[in-house]
Symmetry: C2
Subunit: 375 residues, 2 copies
């Protein structure tokens, strides 16, 4: 029960991790540069760098002037030591990407779910395109638009089709690769990407909410993803924003403000079956019904955000998803109403990240590879 | 930046903490008993016990048969080493309690806010009753029914009167004592007490929601209180359960289901000004308006709980507060509706703890004293 003192090992692991992270973020450097930046002795750095070179994780480049003005041998991450395969099932098309350890894309492909392509073909195709051998894939990260259960179950997806695809694809991948496969909720991965690429500065907590064909959210507490008792934290699509019943059940947030919900609501008001692009145009032309529906949507979204921030007391809220494109001022309109309804300040930040779930896969994959490399 | 190895000190602190916690939970024991229970060597335990005896934190009792069947000198916490003063401002009366390190009450007093008694008198009175010298108070813990700001601000209380009382009382106490004073949200303290005394077994997360003159909640993540960006996490009283506006503003949860709200809503339906006891009787007699209002309240509370558990994915929900006493089956009625509206299982547990905020003060105070004793 008492603490065992394996601090020696922890220090070594931590030093090597810091060296790798330094090189990944700053690029090539000399041993002396790293020692200075990490505020430790050159012998300590050299010892650890040598060990990483022996493992082929770090490579020596030529000599060059270092930051101290002396010629030093520059070292860098061996970018081609291994690769990450990222698979994003979150959007209306499946996206696959192979990236090296510095995040460079070796291959990228997109498949619509509507076209029936065999898993074998999809996989062979991305590997061929990337020109990467299968055994150099060190981690596979999959973004799943639903809850990833503790027992390898995939549920609460907004599309049954994807649950099925997921199951089949996962089984096939498991046979083809020896590396670890991590399946994670797409919104949580998007949040990881937002934090890593856009909001590193935010020290406290972050709330991320996405309005797309589904509505989902993710919670980051002290820089760590909070996933809940059953990996289902942030399933805000299921909240009931109002006690108004339809026939026998309550309408959920997803049934009120997702892309599909908006179009269905417009149809029930006008009998017109339109696309989201048409709805956008109608809004621009200030069509009355479209405008009224828009205000209801903004109201529902704003109250949901106010309620979540009242419970979580999170100041920084990132909003994302295609729904936000229906009106250029939507983020501002939400902010204005949140200011009225939230007990404490909540800052609405519109996401600018393209393909956030896929980027989250790549980022998480790199982190996991680094963790597994250093032992 | 790199890890420094002060593990030696950490191990000592941890050992001493474990010894004290063992004695606090199990009562007197021999050094050998402790060594066995903590799975460490007798010399290590003896060395640490001796240090704690020198500091007068632990005292030696007589010899007795220990669990190994041998005569051993029994040791125990020096219960009268110091005391904790707990002040609960959460209820309609102020409660003060002085407790020793094992939680025994040395004195307890209650004052209505309606009677104007000077701070000086209140404090002298509890100290006289407890027969404890002021300089033996090692921690003061205050339960505040509102948000305790990071800059010593007290706000969002449901009673302005308490904000004023708090400010004056705190200033007075600060002059009178040299020890640390911790002011914490009353609901968070209640949650700490629930976890400590009733739900130690729950490994994951806990959500606690209280319906009283105010409505508040607390969140425990992995056994740790989650307090949010501005110490305001759990301020569920401010959520807007429905988009229905009254005149210009939305009704908050507190304005719909707190004790006062229930009575006001009843009054607006019948023009009768009644007490909560009378409302309870009317419900028992199955009066139609009371029943309809009751069902609306259960519905609002259930949807709020379902929404929170959908976002936080917390399975175990403790419900507390006087509102639950209006109907013996209320917890069951809430559970039934939560089962219908929650995407994942949420277990509704009715709190059985008396004076939870005060108990939370005492528990937290003891923990904080132990932490500060071992250096």
């Amino acid at each position: 029960m008492l603490l065992s003192a394996n601090t020696q090992i922890d220090v070594k692991i931590n030093n090597q991790k810091l060296i790798i992270e330094y090189l990944l973020s700053k690029g090539p450097a000399s041993r002396a540069d790293i020692a200075k930046a990490l505020n430790t002795s050159k012998p300590t750095i050299s010892k650890n760098v040598d060990e990483l070179i022996r493992q082929n994780i770090i490579v020596e480049l030529g000599k060059a002037d270092n930051q101290l003005g002396k010629k030093g041998t520059f070292i860098d991450i061996n970018k081609e030591y291994g690769y990450i395969l990222s698979i994003d099932l979150s959007k209306n098309s499946m996206r696959l990407s192979v990236n090296n350890l510095t995040g460079e894309t070796k291959g990228f492909q997109k498949y619509s779910y509507n076209i029936d392509i065999e898993d074998e073909h999809i996989l062979r195709s991305i590997m061929d395109l990337s020109k990467v051998s299968k055994d150099l894939i060190l981690k596979i990260i999959i973004a799943y638009p639903g809850v990833v259960g503790h027992n390898g179950q995939y549920y609460l997806s907004n599309l049954k089709q994807k649950e099925v695809k997921m199951k089949g694809f996962l089984d096939y991948i498991k046979c083809q690769f020896n590396c670890e496969i991590i399946v994670k909720n797409d919104i949580n991965l998007a949040l990881i990407a937002e934090k890593a690429y856009n909001h590193q500065i935010i020290k406290g907590n972050l709330y991320y909410i996405s309005f797309e064909t589904g509505v989902g959210s993710g919670i980051m507490i002290n820089g760590q993803l909070y996933e809940g008792d059953r990996n289902a934290a942030g399933e805000v699509g299921f909240i009931i924003p109002s006690q108004i019943k339809t026939t026998t059940t309550y309408k959920t947030l997803e049934e009120l403000v997702s892309i599909n919900a908006i179009l269905e609501r417009y149809k029930s008001l006008t009998d017109d079956e339109i696309s989201i692009e048409t709805f956008k145009k109608k809004l621009l032309k200030k069509e009355e019904i479209a405008q009224r529906l828009y205000h209801e949507i903004v109201e529902t979204i704003s109250i949901a955000i106010s309620n979540v921030t009242a419970i979580l007391d999170i100041e920084n809220v990132i909003i994302a998803g295609a729904v936000l494109n229906i009106n250029p001022s939507m983020a501002m309109d939400i902010q204005a109403l949140v200011n009225q309804t939230s007990p404490l300040k909540a800052e609405i930040i519109k996401s600018e990240l393209e393909q956030p779930a896929l980027k989250g896969c790549i980022y998480l994959g790199t982190q996991e590879v680094i963790k597994s490399l250093i032992k």
